[in-house]
Subunit: 425 residues, 2 copies
């Protein structure tokens, strides 16, 4: 299908964080890869566009996974009895070390990309491993899949096993520069993102060098922040001069601001100062509710972040999370926000369906530009969901169908997917 | 397949609440509908038994859903933004009122039974509605399905809409007696269970009459207990003479004891005295983690109940829960226990995989007698799970495959099911 097309069905998208727009039997128009609008009657000027008629099916904006570890896909749902730091040592690091072997990486990454392709997610901000070659393999596979992604070769030069740790800050930085050079101009849909794993695994020297690379190549940044109490205490030891965990990134200029678009995953235990700082710097929070529960980290105050206007999207955080589909992250975001309201702090009401839908679409999409909804001018990311497996769609309002999709849909219900104006199936 | 058979595959079952037993390429032997044991080599005396060879697949004991509302299956995943009492008024009561129409009931119940049949659950303790005829229709469908179930015609004569409320305690009691008479001797696999909805919807007069019926017909009892703070406050108003919510049942003799086997769903907020009372009376707790989260009720101290040796199993509590399969209840039980440990009370460690597996099988099975494991003498409830959709089974230990099944399996992965010694597919 060309970049001009019309998709007819039951359309639902966010106008803002609180407002769902719906259109029964509506026409979603894509012109030059960009949304031209949603119409109850197809305007004459689009009548020659190719029509995908999915009457009775849901048409939703693609989901943006703001935080996912591609090499962890293979062992999701294993070792969930451990907390973060133990889990990293026992499961994550030994597995990631295997990605030194490009052949191993190719097989595993192919499976991850295939699953992400089938899911309702259209874009992702993805952690690879420290390995340059394997990371390029992942990027090749993503480019072929038609998905859009920011992919990071991970940097880590301390506090990790010999098998995985980069030899020095210098080696890590040089490798990163080589990686950037090698992929320069190679892809149309996949771009690099600077990825210091998290503060404990990056020396000051490495952070300095990464900051230079960031400025030189104008790369966005992704990392982890304030996920687990033991991790935070460790950062305090490692970086006693920092006022908080976020400040430990900020000291190196790797914490948001106009010149340094940044995603920080988790922010479960951010203190007041860190929250203010994130807001001021426009740092994006990747809220990963399933992972925060599975690793017994806690419950991030996502409702508060949303109310305060902090930029935020959802992350599957596979393999801290067990499923790529952000439908599940949406359900878990609602669930844990209820428990937080009930058990921790009744100041902040539970998240609603429109709010988590916004987070999965417009909220995370904003990191990619005008992405995540069907307002005119937004890049066309969309998927068609057949929700007839678990109910008769005609018996429900579109808002109700969206709520049920969050709880009941599976990847196999995704019939078609458009990414950046291109139909990938 | 006859009641004598052998099933060969990768077997996993509980020995007790903490201990998993596994047997790779093992033989599970069923003799006269009862488990004769698990063997690494098939004993000569069983060599003539029919063999179901599912080498490489998992063979697990069937799951026992200790708490599920059949008429709510149809609207699971809807209206999850409400708390218990509002949710009952807006969604539950209007829908249940429709079950006055047997034709309506037949259509909806057929779908519930069909889904439960496909799930890994082999038995359930099921709430119907107040309607005698519709309840019998549900029992007919369950009997035909081959599942084993205890089914309750619901009793409620106050604090509910006219369309659903029974006219008086007398009418409710008489209807219950008629229902029992009508189904007497009719089924081999389905039995009645006395089902006062919950204290707020049953007058003292009705409770007295139900207690008489309970004693006369020696019926087990199921109801709800200490689910939501607002509900508990209401019970305190309705029953000021009771020391706690459990005592409000106990005053009528409907709270466990040898002559009155009782399941109480939820027990999220039970106080010390109520907990002691449940333990002394052998009351079974139906722990419904997903529902308790979805309705923002809280997190039951399931680990504590288990450690204290209180009888307990898992409940899907559809439609407070969105899925019948207890695999999902197991995952949610682990998840919320982690949040409880982290955010509420670190005295009690999170639930483990062996523990939630025990709850879903032996824990709940005990309400049905010797049910829920493959130790010799237990009734044969089992299912075969194909876990090759999401990994290569040969690469994992059976314990790991069980953990991944909890997080990743779906009903369509269930290949065969045995209930009470009979293969139903």
């Amino acid at each position: 299908m060309e970049k001009n097309f019309v998709c007819k069905g039951d359309i639902c998208y966010s106008k803002d964080a609180r407002t769902l727009e719906t259109c029964k039997d509506g026409y979603l128009v894509c012109e030059n890869g960009v949304c031209a609008g949603v119409f109850t009657k197809l305007p004459e000027k689009y009548s020659a566009f190719a029509l995908l008629d999915v009457t009775g099916k849901l048409i939703l904006p693609g989901f943006i996974d703001l935080h996912v570890h591609a090499p962890q896909y293979d062992y999701r749902g294993l070792g969930m009895d451990l907390e973060l730091l133990e889990w990293l040592d026992i499961h994550t690091f030994p597995e990631e070390a295997k990605y030194a072997d490009p052949l191993y990486a190719k097989g595993k990454y192919a499976q991850f990309v295939s699953e992400m392709r089938k899911s309702p997610n259209t874009r992702g901000c993805i952690f690879a491993t420290v390995h340059r070659q394997s990371t390029e393999i992942l990027m090749n596979l993503l480019e072929e899949s038609g998905l859009i992604a920011m992919v990071g070769k991970v940097n880590m030069d301390r506090n990790s096993p010999d098998s995985l740790r980069e030899k020095s800050a210098e080696v890590s930085a040089l490798d990163t520069i080589q990686w950037i050079a090698q992929i320069s101009g190679k892809y149309t849909r996949v771009t690099p993102i600077l990825t210091p794993r998290f503060l404990p695994s990056c020396s000051d020297e490495l952070m300095k060098r990464l900051a230079e690379i960031q400025r030189q190549y104008r790369l966005p940044v992704q990392s982890h922040l304030s996920e687990n109490p033991a991790e935070i205490a460790w950062v305090r030891e490692l970086s006693p001069e920092s006022r908080n965990y976020g400040d430990a990134y900020d000291r190196f200029g790797l914490f948001g601001g106009k010149e340094c678009p940044t995603i920080m995953a988790h922010c479960v235990w951010s203190d007041e100062e860190e929250i203010v700082q994130m807001k001021e710097r426009g740092v994006f929070i990747a809220h990963c509710p399933e992972s925060n529960t599975n690793l017994a980290s806690g419950i991030a105050p996502a409702k508060r972040y949303l109310e305060e206007g902090i930029s935020m999207g959802l992350g599957s955080d596979v393999a801290g999370g067990t499923r790529c589909s952000l439908f599940f992250a949406m359900a878990e975001a609602i669930r844990v926000s209820k428990l937080r309201w009930r058990l921790v702090d009744a100041t902040w009401a539970p998240l609603t369906v429109p709010e988590v839908f916004y987070l999965a679409t417009m909220g995370g999409g904003a990191f990619f530009g005008k992405v995540g909804t069907f307002l005119p001018g937004y890049e066309m990311d969309a998927f068609v969901l057949d929700d007839s497996r678990y109910h008769r769609p005609e018996e429900y309002r579109i808002e109700e169908r969206l709520e049920r999709a969050i709880y009941l849909s599976e990847d196999r219900d995704v019939l078609h997917k458009f990414v950046g104006g291109r139909q990938i199936f």
